[in-house]
């Protein structure tokens, strides 16, 4: 008797199919019910200087919601402060980066009141430089508050992402191109020859 026809075989197949078919909509519906708006955090620079004040902007969060901003890394979780979003789910505020925390890689994280992480950015915490460099600020076109030291290049890149490829000067070498062309010709000729030779003669 084939495995499919035996009752354990059938039970297994039908059971797994039912499990798969029902679990997909069930998880989708359950997760949908739990979902809340996720937003975006914005920094002018991903390198933060310990002990400096950094303007942070947020967009597309729940309106009039409370968010906690933290730096999260292997050294621990450091609360920078709380913000309340405006009527369109945005905020723009400055926060002090502690001077005494371990340098290195962190994530800047926004946590909603239910404890869910709703946005994050990878950042790097650098040492205070001897002659403190001013953090480039965030320009707010919509009348929000404006921090000192604008960096318009960084801003326009952050605010207007595009699907246009960067215009880069590609590295080229006659050796690489020539080698590739020769390789292609050899492959074409070799392939053609192998396909032309009567089969079974080798």
């Amino acid at each position: 008797m084939s495995f499919y026809r035996s009752w354990p075989g059938r039970a297994l197949i039908v059971g797994s199919l039912v499990a798969v078919i029902t679990s997909i909509p069930a998880t989708v519906i359950a997760a949908d019910a739990l979902r809340h708006p996720e937003g975006t955090l914005k920094l002018a620079k991903r390198q933060l200087v310990a002990g400096s004040t950094v303007p942070i902007r947020g967009e597309m969060f729940a309106e009039h919601g409370k968010l906690a901003l933290l730096l999260v890394g292997v050294a621990g979780r450091f609360r920078l402060g709380d913000v309340t979003t405006d009527s369109v789910g945005g905020f723009a505020e400055s926060f002090d980066i502690p001077a005494d925390i371990e340098l290195g890689a962190y994530r800047l994280v926004a946590i909603a009141t239910d404890g869910d992480e709703v946005a994050s950015l990878n950042v790097e915490l650098l040492a205070e430089s001897p002659a403190p460099e001013k953090d480039p600020g965030i320009s707010e076109d919509d009348g929000g508050h404006v921090e000192d030291g604008h960096s318009h290049d960084a801003e326009s890149a952050e605010d207007a992402p595009t699907d246009e490829p960067l215009i880069l000067e590609r590295a080229g070498s006659p050796w690489v191109r020539g080698g590739a062309v020769v390789g292609i010709i050899i492959a074409l000729v070799g392939g053609g020859l192998l396909l032309r030779r009567p089969q079974g003669t080798g």
Binding site: S2, R77, P165, Q199
Partner: protein
Amino acid sequence: MTTPPPTAGPTRHGPVAERLALHGLDYDVPARANRLDFMLGALTLVSLTLLAVTGIVLTQYYNPAPLAAHSSVQYIITNVPLVTFLRDVHVWSASGAMVLVFAHLAAVFWRRGFRNPREGLWWSGVLLLALLFGLSFTGTVLTGDQEAVEALAHATAGADLVGPLGVPLQEAFTPSTPLLTRLYGVHVSVLPLALVLILGLHLWLIRHLGVSAAGTERALFRSHLRPLGGFALLLVAVVGIFAIALPHGLLAPGVGGFEVTKPPWEFLWIYAAENLLGMNGMLIAPAVLFGFLAIVPISDRQPGRGATVTRVLGVTLFVILVVAIVYAALAPGQTHLGM
């Protein structure tokens, strides 16, 4: 009556061939398997080999730290001619592998190569397809450009949808290693390892169950290697031509919270489903495709209604897949996250 395999007298093997036990290639296979539609699987393997070789070179130049990834790719493009070319070969081989694996799947489906005793062979193939999609996705996010950041945002949103199963795909999973770095690990170790294991099973089953070619005429497997080598070289040439003629670009460093790009072509059918169904489309469309592929050997076991329905459904799904890809490529960009 079975035709005996052609023997041109006793086969002579040189000392090297003897030591490599190449006489092991002298087993007989159906003569019909000497056609292109029976070589699509092996040609997929050729693309995978190109991917592995070029990928190893790329690992020497790529930096998987989130703040360094984009600039390392930009460095490759602007400063290292050989590696730029190999990166383009890598990207085009990935597309080639996808086209070939779908052609292979379609050919096997059409000749009902999944029927008894090859169900396991088919299911191992379905797993291979899933792994290829996984490799393609994790490869896309590595560049850290706008397309990559959007792909990653989709993945974390999708991971949210599947609850606890999706936790490893969240940034918060561990504070010590960023998600991008973990996905890099998945791209260069976990998925290739799984691919090699499942591929081993696939090839083992092919060797021992044989392919489902019609006809009784037999030929030596060795004779199969010559045309296969020919097609393989042509494939390498075509990939090389694409790499030179249409080098792969890089977008600006990615900014979260925006959707201005479309995914690579092999994911456009999922993008189309998201256009129609919102974020849930990214789970429903793959579930339909892979769910269908999983039941094929059960629903089409012998001639009859089940077989007809399976074939009609399969062809319909394939047409929908192609139409969805074309539609998504032409449709204006749309926002899905948060829908």
